[in-house]
């Protein structure tokens, strides 16, 4: 129980720290959101007097007269109550941040979420087999190949896959957006097919770059676990090797990877910024890029908060899972 309380305390503290950083960064850096907005509004040439400007700023949530602490309290209240303000980006000036995020979220969850989970499952299985057949054919190929793939930059794999599969007049696959422009979202075979073909290259990119890490750590964990006495004991009992492999070795080898997997699940919310950017995929990662390019501070702040909360919740859930699965963690706590 103490273990769980400690983790819960850590969760709250980290959440508070992240939210405070998120609040402080724009206030410490040169070029405040208010100035950017002022410049943008002035540029559009519709603002005449300073009073009008201030009124408009206030409607965007910037009170020029409030103290830092008051702003902090308001910010915290707004973040918790999903009152995330309005965008000040170029093309989306004035749109509600909450509705923008709601639009992009399903695409990211579908694409990055599925790819991340697939990478974990496939990578773990290959890692178990490679570690189990130590020195075998698979184990001879796997480590060098995946050391290399895990060091490849996401965006480069994405660019390469475009060159290979989606370039020129005879492209095999689409490389832009989430479905064909002429279609409307509906439950028809044509639409679903279009969504799936648009997802192949980005999902493949994520799979290729993410899978190596899981394979290598799982292989190394399996090798370490195979040296344990309980595995020898299981062999001495004459258990079938499949059972030793999955129920004795793999189960224990998986534990150290759980919190890593939880973190990567949390990152899903942030989308894979570089991949979504290259493929122009309208998920949260692409929105992150747009927010940066258009210095859209409210959107950036909401997105960063969302990713942090997602990662923290997933890590907390992993802690609970480890507590349930690993008696050693319970004994320590």
């Amino acid at each position: 129980m103490r273990f769980l309380l400690r983790r819960l305390g850590f969760f709250v503290l980290t959440l508070w720290a992240a939210m405070t950083i998120n609040f402080l960064i724009p206030h410490m850096m040169p070029g405040s959101p208010a100035q950017v907005l002022k410049a943008k509004l002035n540029h559009s040439g519709r603002i005449a007097s300073p009073e009008q400007l201030n009124a408009l700023l206030a409607s965007f949530g910037f009170d020029p007269h409030a103290g830092l602490f008051d702003q902090y309290v308001t910010y915290m209240k707004d973040m918790v109550t999903f009152n995330w303000g309005v965008s000040i980006g170029g093309s989306s000036l004035g749109a509600s941040v909450t509705s923008m995020i709601r639009q992009a979220l399903p695409w990211t969850l579908g694409l990055v979420g599925v790819a991340t989970i697939m990478a974990f499952i496939i990578g773990t299985l290959i890692g178990i087999v490679a570690g189990w057949r130590r020195g075998g054919l698979l184990d001879g190929i796997v480590p060098p190949v995946f050391v290399v793939t895990s060091a490849l930059p996401y965006f480069w794999v994405a660019l390469l896959s475009i060159v290979l599969f989606a370039n020129g007049a005879h492209a095999l696959l689409p490389n832009d957006g989430n479905y064909d422009l002429g279609l409307h979202p509906q439950w028809s075979g044509q639409f679903i097919g279009s969504v799936l073909t648009h997802a192949i290259l980005p999902a493949g990119t994520i799979l290729i770059t993410a899978i190596g890490g899981w394979i290598l750590t799982m292989r190394n964990n399996t090798i370490t676990t195979l040296a344990e006495d309980y595995v020898r004991m299981a062999r001495a009992k004459g258990l079938p090797s499949r059972r030793i492999m999955f129920d004795y070795a793999a189960r224990n080898a998986l534990l150290p990877n759980l919190s890593g997997f939880a973190m990567s699940l949390g990152y899903v919310i942030g989308g894979t910024i570089l991949v979504e950017y290259v493929f122009n995929y309208p998920g949260l990662g692409h929105m992150f890029y747009l927010a940066t390019a258009g210095t859209d501070y409210p959107l950036l702040q909401a997105l960063f908060m969302l990713v942090t909360v997602a990662v923290l919740v997933c890590v907390l859930l992993a802690d609970f899972a480890i507590f349930l699965l690993d008696p050693r963690a319970r004994a320590k706590g």
């Binding site: 850590f10 020195g135 060098p144 890490g213 190394n220 370490t224 890593g260 910024i273 940066t292 990662v311």
Partner: protein
């Protein structure tokens, strides 16, 4: 990326390192094929960074100069990777960009490692409240989503210069190593050789620097390689998105311009892919060395010789 670096702290060699360091480390690297390949690649990049002129002797002046050649040429004997939309030679730019990319990797790697050592080892050695506070700090930085944080920081810092990029990389890259070093330090705390140093009445700083740190050499090196790998990939990603200095000479910036001028769409794959390949190769060299260090410091992971294949189920 970071999952690569997972290393069981108890599996690491904790013998006093002085004996092994003399020749032992270099022999270990040379006898490990992955390490040799990684080291050879890294040395090649160091050579490119130090003497770019040797590899493009025909390049006059700054390769960034606009309009030196005809625009948008396909790869040929005179322009091995073609020319850009602004009439620069892609191959010359690529070679000259090695320096900045390598400097970012090494400086950010060193900086992050220094902070990891400082915080990780002090947390382990001081114990008590100091340990609690420092591990809490490490934990917070460990779970903060790094790439989004970097993007937020770089945006507010005004799409920054080289210095901003490096500082941001260090600030977000140290926590993983600090966590590992703390675990390693904790496992050392009650060893006899530290006890005897304490009995001899040595100062704390002496014990940490002379007795504790040398035993961690391989772990610190592995951390440096991991941090450098992270820095290479992240810096390139940042610059690719246009958050670096767009007039700098680096692979990420080349990618940014290639993407901006539609290199892929208009059929110039070499221009768009070559800088990314360079980033990938530098990353691979760090990753190979890092993985080899895992094998060197944890004998259980070393590859088994083919002749006596040992299957776990035989």
């Amino acid at each position: 990326m970071s999952t690569l670096l997972v290393d069981s702290p108890d599996g690491t060699d904790v013998r006093p390192a002085r004996r092994r360091m003399r020749g032992g480390l270099s022999r270990a690297i040379l006898s490990n094929r992955k390490a040799t390949a990684g080291l050879a690649l890294l040395l090649l990049f160091c050579l490119l960074a130090a003497f770019p002129k040797l590899f493009v002797p025909w390049q006059q002046g700054d390769p960034r100069t606009v309009g030196q050649f005809q625009q948008l040429l396909h790869p040929s004997l005179t322009h091995w990777l073609g020319t850009t939309g602004l009439g620069q030679d892609v191959y010359a730019e690529l070679i000259y960009s090695t320096r900045e990319s390598l400097v970012i990797a090494l400086v950010a790697g060193l900086g992050a490692t220094a902070i990891s050592v400082l915080i990780g080892v002090s947390a382990a050695y001081l114990g008590g409240v100091a340990d609690d506070a420092l591990s809490m700090l490490t934990g917070v930085f460990l779970v903060l989503p790094t790439f989004p944080l970097i993007i937020v920081l770089a945006t507010y810092a005004g799409k920054g210069s080289l210095g901003v990029v490096i500082i941001v990389l260090i600030a977000t890259g140290w926590a993983y190593g600090a966590n590992q070093l703390r675990a390693q330090g904790l496992s050392l705390r009650n060893r006899d050789f530290l006890e005897s140093a304490r009995v001899r009445g040595e100062r704390r700083s002496y014990i940490i620097v002379v007795e504790v740190l040398p035993t961690m050499t391989s772990l610190i090196l592995a951390n440096f390689l991991g941090a450098a790998l992270y820095a290479v990939l992240t810096a390139a990603g940042l610059q690719f998105l246009g958050l670096g200095d767009p007039s700098s000479l680096s692979w990420g910036t080349m990618l940014y311009w290639a993407q901006n001028q539609g290199a892929l769409v208009s059929g110039f794959p070499a221009w768009a892919l070559a800088p990314g390949l360079a980033v990938a190769l530098l990353g691979v060299s760090f990753a190979l060395l890092n993985y080899a260090f895992d094998e060197i410091s944890n004998p259980a992971l070393r590859p088994v010789r083919r002749q006596r294949v040992k299957r776990a189920d035989s």
